[in-house]
């Protein structure tokens, strides 16, 4: 470990042991806190998704009307008289209610939901199914997750690295023409990505039809892998561009300001006075002390990636998690809604945990619990 080479720690082995112990303690503390956080967050989501039982009433009415329609429409039940038919309907409704656990009070059900959700046993969807025909919630979510990760991973990584490197360059060329352009363009980020998406669709799909307006792959999908990848890339171009347009300038601007503040510190001036090359100044004197905020923003970017973006995905008909959540809400499909939020909560908590540990490694003050 690099940190143990720090001259302020007297003995190598002793310092390492102490660091490990502190890190372990920190990790345990954070894990307990995060589990509690996820527990409460998921429970709140269950309450909201069910609207305190209101959705159940809606569903009861729906079940009854569906079953009575099915029974009335079935020719084989035509001979029954109305009393018998009503009995049959009632029996089927009871069965369906039992199948969906609607006969138990909501409070009890909410806890069983919570228990199962925490064990990642997400249950079966009520209305929706995956493209392969499975009703399992985790199958539905797993099917959509890669699409979201592909799109948002590409876009976010691109934005992150592009903005950090451009910002570093700009902080060296402070006040240059490019710098001014970025400052002028920064306020354009007030508009979200879907908004630019509309314009991009207008320009590149209708006025100048060179790129597809929506979807993830050409229909029918190309047979061989090479064409398939090419088609996906073509479909990705516009949404990635929309995200890039809406975030890149503000991102460069804030990083640039951040680096500028840090490059006016005394030790950087000192390094300059010593005549160190600018690459070295950047790496050793600017990037290293700012590592913690850089990592934080990288992690926050990862977190925002998990959830996808409902509207951007809808605008481009991208078959990801955002579209899934919107469809699930439209179908009043509680298990799918809760399932996606649970997955989101877990991923978020995991990201925060990793962030805390990385913080502990990077920043000794966090490790020994000194409040800043």
């Amino acid at each position: 470990m690099k940190l143990s080479q720090n001259p302020s720690i007297p003995k190598k082995a002793e310092g390492l042991l102490r660091d490990l112990k502190l890190m372990l303690l920190l990790t345990c503390k954070r894990i307990i806190a995060l589990v509690l956080m996820v527990l409460i967050g998921v429970y709140l989501t269950i309450l909201i998704a069910n609207m305190g039982g209101r959705v159940d009433e809606l569903r009861l009415v729906q079940i009854r009307s569906e079953i009575s329609e099915a029974v009335r429409g079935d020719l084989s039940f035509r001979e029954l008289d109305s009393a018998e038919r009503n009995q049959l309907i009632q029996r089927r409704v009871d069965l369906e209610v039992q199948r969906l656990n609607l006969d138990r009070p909501f409070l009890l059900r909410s806890f069983s939901y919570l228990y199962r959700a925490m064990r990642l046993d997400l249950g079966r969807a009520e209305q929706m199914h995956s493209d392969k025909g499975s009703r399992e919630v985790h199958a539905i979510i797993l099917e959509r997750l890669p699409a979201t990760l592909l799109l948002f991973g590409t876009a976010n990584l691109l934005i992150f690295f592009l903005s950090v490197y451009t910002a570093l360059w700009l902080s060296r060329h402070y006040g240059s023409f490019m710098d001014r352009i970025v400052i002028v363009l920064a306020p354009t980020s007030a508009a979200p990505a879907w908004f630019y998406g509309i314009f991009l669709i207008l320009c590149f799909a209708f006025l100048l039809p060179i790129l597809p307006a929506g979807g993830m792959v050409r229909a029918p999908p190309p047979e061989d892998n090479w064409n398939y990848t090419l088609s996906v890339l073509k479909h990705m171009a516009l949404p990635v561009m929309a995200m890039l347009l809406s975030q890149i300038f503000i991102s460069i601007y804030s990083w640039r300001t951040f680096f500028l503040i840090h490059s006016s510190e005394d030790y950087v001036e000192m390094a300059r006075a010593k005549g160190l090359p600018s690459r070295m100044i950047e790496r050793r004197y600017i990037l290293r002390p700012t590592l913690a905020p850089v990592i934080t923003s990288f992690m926050l970017m990862l977190i925002s990636m998990w959830s996808g973006a409902i509207i951007l995905e809808r605008t481009f008909s991208w078959p990801g998690l955002g579209t899934l959540i919107f469809q699930a809400i439209g179908h009043h499909d509680t298990p799918v809604i809760i399932g996606s939020v649970v997955i989101f909560a877990y991923l978020l908590a995991f990201s925060i945990l990793v962030l805390d540990i990385v913080y502990g490694i990077v920043d000794p003050r966090v490790r020994i619990g000194v409040s800043r």
């Binding site: 806190a33 956080m37 306020p187 879907w194 669709i201 799909a205 809808r314 959540i325 809400i329 989101f344």
Partner: protein, 442 residues
């Protein structure tokens, strides 16, 4: 006070701030004019659609856009029987009227629709009307006749028999030059002659011929004939109000709660911290979508949920970090010494201290909420009765406006949204430089 006025005076050195303020002033002025010119109830009533718009064309583009493109698309012509020279012949038991409705047509394109609205009053027996179409080159096309009710309309464009007879859509065939392969407009004076037989002395009949154009007003119309200008105008105060209320609601509550947590410390502080962490897990947009689909899409409910979820937002942590050192400063101890109450210390000593840092965030938060409202509307969760920019966009999306080349329908609300966002963002960025001491050094 001196501090504030000095800082604000500094803004004049930033052209972007002046531009931003100019945009905001324009928007606010537009809102005030709109609210005064078109009262709220009237706007809602009109936006519901229906009979009010029957004289407006469907999907007409703005007049200025057509001018700009050098086109000569038709405007809507309304010819009323009040201005026509009516010939009246009385006979026993009734009257015979001959109403010629003239109009000059010299546009390059065909109208989008033709309707005749008839109103007959003070009769006991329904009058009978027969229509004949006279073209400039002297042809006469009979359009049939029928008994007319008190409030009647002849939809010439939807007369299938006429369409079959002409071989093309009635509003094209009636104005086309005869015997050409592709339809061409025959310009000149057209006349629709209405021969009516009234079976009463006192009975009266009024007719209005509407030749719907393809351009309308400043903003065009949508698929329900509604003038988009109404929604664009009324969208301004709604967007500003939503953005402002949501921004004020979330920032102020968060700030006060963070200050209370810092001041009282201990368990309250810990609870607030934990609540903030839990709130981070709850995804805002899915919850809003859930509330919208399951409860109601009223804009005020949405506002409430946004503020509620915004109370314990991540910025509470930031405020806490800023307030912690201030808590220990001597002037707070002095306040305590003279016996200031807790609420006085929080509201008068802690909160105002970090307001300057907050102002830029606050200003940039407004467009974020304006866009949030638009986002919800684009998802189909806009307020059911209010005319907003987002709802115009949503209508346009549902009617595939881009695919049908109704670009104005998407561009006008989008540009207004952009302008709002840009105005506040420009001002916010300049404020950030003025109020943030670390930024001012460089």
């Amino acid at each position: 006070m001196r501090y504030w006025s000095e800082r604000l005076w500094e803004l004049r050195r930033y052209p972007s701030a002046l531009l931003g303020m100019a945009i905001i002033f324009c928007l606010v002025g537009l809102s005030i004019v709109t609210v005064i010119a078109i009262p709220y109830d009237e706007a809602l009533d009109r936006w519901r659609g229906g009979d009010y718009w029957r004289m407006h064309p469907r999907n007409a583009e703005p007049v200025w856009l057509n001018r700009l493109k050098g086109g000569n698309k038709p405007k809507t012509l309304i010819i009323s029987s009040h201005d026509a020279e009516t010939k009246s012949v009385t006979f026993s038991g009734g009257r015979r009227l001959r109403i010629p409705l003239h109009f000059d047509y010299d546009f390059s394109a065909f109208p989008s629709e033709i309707n005749l609205f008839l109103k007959s009053e003070k009769h006991t027996r329904e009058p009978f009307a027969r229509l004949t179409w006279h073209t400039p080159d002297g042809r006469e096309i009979p359009l049939g006749g029928r008994r007319i009710t008190a409030n009647d309309r002849f939809s010439l464009s939807q007369d299938w028999a006429l369409e079959r007879r002409l071989g093309q859509l009635p509003h094209v065939g009636l104005l086309a030059r005869p015997d050409t392969d592709s339809p061409e407009v025959l310009s000149g004076r057209y006349t629709l002659v209405l021969d009516a037989v009234l079976f009463d002395e006192a009975a009266e009949i009024t007719a209005e011929l509407v030749v719907y154009g393809r351009v309308h007003g400043l903003a065009g119309t949508d698929h329900q004939r509604r003038d988009l200008l109404l929604a664009l105008l009324w969208g301004t105060p709604i967007a500003l109000a939503f953005g402002l209320l949501a921004a004020v609601g979330t920032t102020l509550t968060t700030l006060v709660i963070a200050a209370a947590g810092v001041w009282f410390g201990g368990r309250l502080d810990a609870t607030i911290q934990r609540l903030t962490e839990i709130n981070m897990i709850l995804p805002l947009l899915p919850i809003l979508v859930m509330v919208g689909t399951l409860y109601s899409t009223s804009i005020w409910l949405m506002l409430g949920v946004v503020v509620l979820l915004g109370i314990f937002s991540a910025s509470a942590k930031m405020y806490r970090a800023m307030l912690l050192p201030i808590r220990e400063s001597p002037y707070i101890q002095a306040a305590q010494a003279y016996g200031a109450s807790d609420s006085r210390i929080i509201l008068h000593y802690l909160v105002p201290r970090i307001l300057p840092v907050l102002i830029p965030t606050f200003v940039t938060l407004i467009p974020a909420f304006v866009f949030l409202e638009a986002s919800l509307a684009v998802l189909g969760l806009g307020d059911p009765v209010l005319p907003t920019w987002g709802k115009v966009l949503n209508d346009a999306q549902n009617e595939s406006a881009l695919y049908n080349h109704y670009y104005y329908w998407v561009l006008a609300p989008a540009l207004l949204l952009m302008l709002t966002g840009l105005g506040f963002a420009l001002l916010g960025f300049a404020l950030d430089r003025v109020f943030n001491p670390r930024l001012r050094r460089i």
